[in-house]
């Protein structure tokens, strides 16, 4: 059949059919059905290139709500006869899916918000005391006068604490609903900021020896160019992260550090000696080599309470954002051997193995009678990278099973488990 005959039978002009054939016009609706009818083929075969994405998304939408029993066999007909409705369905599906993701994230945040958890715990304790003590005063008549007075004082104290806690909670929600505060916590905003910049600041690495004023300008420019920092606190955290980065860059300029690291086979202790810096600084700097020549090094630094102070996750080793990491991490064991670098082979569920170097470091100069604050760092090197490390790495023992955090860890019978997992049945 000639193009001209086909166009005539389908009720369109030959030039329009030509445009369709060369993908310069989208084909849908009556025109598509007309051409398919003339050619004697299902309309879907003509629209594959144009509408396959739409069809795939409609299938996903149908799978999302299987109870609605959408007629999958009629997807072709829907997209060709009613392309607008099909697009509307997929748009609504996308919107629903995005909103579900956002709700899950917010709900997760609410569950893990340390301030909310602490406030609720404290208020329930206050209420418990007030309820129990007032009940004693009401129902028990033979109380000694001193004890009676004491219980009145307790009720007074606890009701004042309850009132303070309620006011603090109210202020917290006022702040949380502030449009400028955004939906992320400052820590989350910092994480996203670092991810947007791939955890590196070439602007700083280009001129690591810039003076303080020049460096401040560079940092301000980067911050200005980033629209994702929507609260004062998140901007402050991002600025601090860049100031720390600049300090490491100044002591270990990347142009020198990269070849030195390769030459020393990534030996952190040797690099620390070479640059006269502490091991945590070298750990941080090693993660800045990521991406080049297949290097992928992860890092987490925490204080003694387990709060994460710096994190560089890896694709195969995510780091929980809200505390409660796996207590079996060598990161935490290092606190019991401060100053020593410990190496271990660790294995996540799914048999993903990493070399973990951990090291707890005092943050203050020694002072008589004042306990030192320690930060612990754990460097994570995928085991596949081992042949690029030198013989500075002691022989590794059998892999130690660890997880990410109890809530998402499927390990059965783990003695370190502190809360049930939420992934469904174990195993």
């Amino acid at each position: 059949m000639t193009q001209k005959a086909l166009a005539a039978d389908a009720g369109i002009s030959a030039s329009y059919l030509n445009l369709i054939e060369h993908n310069r016009r989208a084909v849908a609706g009556k025109v598509l059905l007309g051409i398919a009818r003339v050619l004697g083929v299902p309309p879907g075969t003509l629209s594959d290139g144009v509408e396959s994405a739409l069809i795939a998304e409609l299938r996903q939408a149908a799978a999302h709500l299987p109870r609605q029993a959408a007629e999958l066999a009629a997807i072709d007909e829907l997209t060709t006869r009613f392309p607008g409705w099909a697009r509307l369905t997929t748009a609504l599906y996308r919107q629903t899916r995005d909103q579900e993701t956002a709700i899950a994230a917010l709900s997760d945040r609410l569950t893990h918000d340390p301030f909310l958890a602490e406030s609720l715990h404290s208020m329930l304790s206050n209420i418990t005391v007030i309820r129990s003590t007032s009940n004693i005063l009401k129902n028990i008549t033979d109380i000694e006068p001193e004890k009676q007075a004491r219980f009145h004082v307790i009720i007074h104290e606890e009701s004042r604490r309850l009132s303070d806690a309620a006011q603090a909670l109210s202020r917290y929600f006022d702040h949380a609903t502030d449009q400028n505060a955004g939906t992320a916590t400052p820590d989350e905003a910092l994480d996203r900021f670092l991810q947007r910049h791939d955890f590196r600041f070439p602007e700083i690495d280009a001129h690591p020896q810039a003076n303080a004023e020049e460096m401040a300008t560079t940092i301000a420019q980067v911050l200005q160019g980033d629209s994702g920092l929507d609260s004062t606190e998140s901007r402050r955290l991002a600025q601090q992260a860049m100031v720390d980065y600049a300090a490491d860059a100044q002591k270990m300029p990347l142009a020198e550090f990269r070849p030195s690291a390769e030459k020393l086979r990534y030996d952190p202790a040797a690099l620390a000696r070479m640059y006269g810096v502490d091991l945590h600084a070298v750990f941080r700097r090693l993660t800045h080599l990521n991406g080049k020549e297949g290097i992928q090094i992860g890092l987490v630094i925490a204080n003694a309470a387990g709060r994460t102070l710096a994190r560089r996750p890896l694709a195969d080793f995510s780091l929980p954002r809200h505390g409660a990491a796996c207590p079996l991490w060598p990161l935490f064991q290092a606190f019991s051997h401060p100053g020593t670098v410990q190496s271990a082979l660790v294995e996540l569920p799914g048999q993903k193995r990493f070399i973990a170097l951990s090291h707890a470091l005092a943050q203050d100069a020694p002072a008589i009678g004042t306990p030192a604050r320690y930060h612990s760092a754990m460097l994570l090197i995928p085991v596949g990278f081992q042949d690029r490390l030198g013989d500075w790495l002691p022989p590794l023992c059998a892999p130690q099973p660890i997880g990410i955090s109890c809530r998402i860890c499927p390990r059965e019978g783990c003695k370190a488990r502190s809360e049930p997992q939420i992934l469904g049945d174990e195993g």
Partner: protein, 122 residues
């Protein structure tokens, strides 16, 4: 009948005070420990018939203490008392082997009744 001993492991002094008052009126010998890390030692020294255990304690979680209690040769009965009332905490406490799990705020009648029932039961 010897006086039955109860140990309250709880870091809120006012809760300890009201519970102590209520339980002493029932003729019990009541002791208290506010530090999670020292709880097990107190249990081993005092050998109480019942431990009233808070979940959120300074230095050590109630779940960890409960595990240690269960490993003792003749463990006391344990009533876990917590402001963390979520189902998963209750499930966890049950899995470790708690005798009774109660949430704050409690009613005096209910808690005293439960404690006496646990003691009489054992």
């Amino acid at each position: 009948m010897p006086q039955l001993r109860v140990l309250i492991v709880e870091d809120e002094p006012n809760i300890v005070e009201s519970l102590t008052f209520l339980l002493e009126r029932e003729g019990l010998d009541v002791h208290a420990q506010s530090n999670g890390a020292a709880a097990l030692a107190s249990i081993q020294t005092l050998e109480p018939a019942l431990v009233i255990l808070d979940v959120m304690l300074p230095n050590r979680s109630g779940f960890d203490i409960l595990r240690d209690i269960r490993a003792l040769p003749s463990p006391p009965r344990v009533l876990m008392l917590t402001a963390k009332g979520q189902a998963r905490d209750r499930q966890m406490a049950t899995e470790i082997g708690v005798d009774l799990f109660m949430t704050k705020p409690f009613s005096n009648t209910e808690i005293v009744g439960s404690i006496l029932a646990l003691l009489n039961d054992g």
